[in-house]
Point group: C2
Chain length 392, copies 2
């Protein structure tokens, strides 16, 4: 894989098919060391210039044929070696042994959303339920060093979003892990896009989550197995997170956080950026909050996301019961009767005596008394000296 | 004062002057029990219909004249009693004794901004420095039951805003008090608009702040002295807070909080609403955050406010030194050298070992060591086993 960011013009799927290249040849090129995304694009453009089916017999090409396409001698030799039948066989076995499956740019089940980005992956490796890429998806990203607040709201919002959309993240520490955890058991589930190979568990503490994702979700990577993980792979991974998703929710991110790269990519792909507000004094929120400044959509709960995609989302949530349950955890007046909620809301803004509450609520003293008692039992309010009540 | 919200058409200043009504007569009407804002508007409209100078001799009008304008017998009698020379004299003495001054709708020093609202006050009472109403102003409002976070960011943002704008609030507990405190000693200062009379200190715990405002700021009220404070006066007060200001910053506000009334009034007056983000799990922030949903401008610091009014604000802050000082309190990398800030920002996102920091920073080991030591001494970072550093 090359890390150069200059891009030759992108090759459409029909152009790629026109060259006659086979998915096996595309995989062989993709898995050849020293042949990067741009080299493959150049090969396809060359084939395109040579007419229909020019790359059909790529497996029979000699080193000179590859060099004619502008590749170096070393690249050409590696490709030829990598296209020998025994090499193809070895790769197939390796994929199979590791339980990984492949989808190429040429396949009917390649994710539609990735055709819309400027540098779509040629090959994707996966483990788990590929059907998840058919769902409308929302990415949730943020700092590895999440606060308790960040993890909690990420789990809640992920669980909420996954009632109607699949949650995409990067299986990193912190916000990513919380996003996967929150969405894992919800109807639309969750997809992890890895920076390393699809069989490479990183970071190690997410091992259990990784296996849960293999069982109940989907793990995707563009990176061939055995590729050594290096920093340059993270931005490449981030573009797939953004590319698979309608939008990216940034929960907590310090300035210069990697999560902001994903948000910037999302903007570049004409996707939406959402921000979960946090305290302006929190260094872990400030990078996210700066997107609010630039016009990102604030997210108080999943409805803010659904509202943005109401034209395209399934109208019925996958599992209304689970949705109700997820709502309840985020509402301060959940599990309260309407009278309890009324009193609770009065007390939220300022403490009141029972006399003041009688006037404000219009309840009889006896009924108000029973409502206050119930709120005390539910540990939602506190009684201070002089029968003054405050919220807990 | 009437509390009816239906409004007769508003009367322009030149229309009011056309009727020939004197400021003394306007004050007498305003201070007559049972004669509200709308009654005064009706009197002026009546005068307008009768031709130039029709109300010039209001002090000589008999009860029948007032009744001809549609007033009840009781109102008419009260007005006549209140316009007797000894009543005028008594009122003047009262205002003087209490150190309050008056500005009427007819006066050249009536606040320009209040001419633009649909129901401007006919009379304003004040103590302190009236010149402050000439400044561009920003309101800061929020819950009485502010959190520590709410009070802290309010003070910081008020101090920041008051470098170039006058901060308007309501001298209530919580956010209001923090706004006045933060802005009090800054160049553009602060105005408190009271719901009760300008000499009525409420709540009692803000007594010291009240006196500071009389000395160094401005206390304003529409309410005649000796008016008994009642809930209906608070929304009337809130309209003056919104009316005096280009925009309203909501810091913390629960659902249904009174601060949101001020924000709604601001929208009605075509002013801006700003919101200081907070945690979405905080019941005290949720009312404010819902304005973000509706498109309010997020405020991370005073620059977000200044940016909105860059076309109209003085380009030079009143006191650059104080501005610098106020900035420093809100920046996580304040008081750090550029090298210290660089390392600190690395560590904000994730912990690093000293080896990793050497590579990332490009600093020599010796220099990096001294930077880390300095950050440790400043208590900004923490050293964990294995020479791994995290932020504090």
């Amino acid at each position: 894989m090359e890390e150069k960011r200059e891009q030759v013009r992108s090759v459409t799927k029909s152009e790629a098919l026109f060259t006659g290249i086979t998915r096996e040849a595309l995989i062989a090129l993709h898995e050849t060391d020293g042949v990067g995304k741009l080299s493959i694009a150049n090969i396809l453009l060359y084939g395109l210039s040579k007419g229909k089916g020019a790359l059909r017999f790529a497996f029979d090409f000699l080193a000179g044929d590859w060099r004619d396409m502008g590749l170096h001698a070393k690249q050409a030799a590696s490709i030829v070696a990598n296209m020998r039948p025994e090499a193809v066989e070895r790769r197939l076995r390796k994929h199979e042994e590791r339980g990984m499956r492949l989808v190429t740019y040429l396949d009917h089940d390649y994710p539609e959303m990735l055709f819309q980005i400027s540098d779509p992956p040629w090959v994707l490796y996966y483990r788990g339920n590929w059907e998840l890429v058919r769902n409308p998806a929302i990415a949730i990203v943020g700092t590895r060093l999440a606060t308790g607040y960040g993890r909690k709201v990420t789990e809640d919002i992920a669980a909420g979003c996954a009632q109607r959309m699949t949650v995409v993240s990067g299986l990193a520490r912190g916000i990513d892990a919380a996003a996967h955890s929150g969405a894992l058991r919800a109807p639309y589930g969750t997809i992890a896009v890895l920076a390393g190979g699809v069989d490479h568990i990183y970071p190690p503490e997410n091992k259990a989550l990784y296996h849960d994702l293999v069982e109940q979700g989907l793990i995707v990577s563009e990176i061939p197995p055995d590729t050594i993980l290096r920093p340059g792979l993270f931005p490449l991974r981030n573009r797939i997170i953004a590319g698979l998703s309608y939008g990216v929710i940034v929960v907590e991110a310090a300035k210069e956080s990697g999560a902001l790269i994903t948000a910037d990519l999302a903007i570049g792909y004409n996707r939406d950026v959402f921000v979960v507000p946090g305290q302006i004094t929190s260094p872990r929120s400030i990078g996210a909050l700066e997107y609010l400044r630039k016009g990102a959509i604030p997210v108080l709960d999943e409805t803010d996301v659904f509202r943005a995609y109401s034209y395209i989302l399934p109208t019925k949530p996958g599992n209304p019961e689970a949705e109700e349950a997820s709502k309840q955890t985020s509402m301060p007046t959940s599990n309260l009767t309407s009278d309890e909620a009324l009193i609770y809301n009065f007390l939220l803004d300022q403490p009141f005596s029972i006399d003041e509450l009688t006037i404000r609520s219009g309840m009889t003293f006896g009924h108000l008394h029973s409502v206050l008692l119930s709120l005390l039992i539910k540990r939602r309010i506190h009684q201070q000296p002089g029968s003054v009540y405050t919220v807990l």
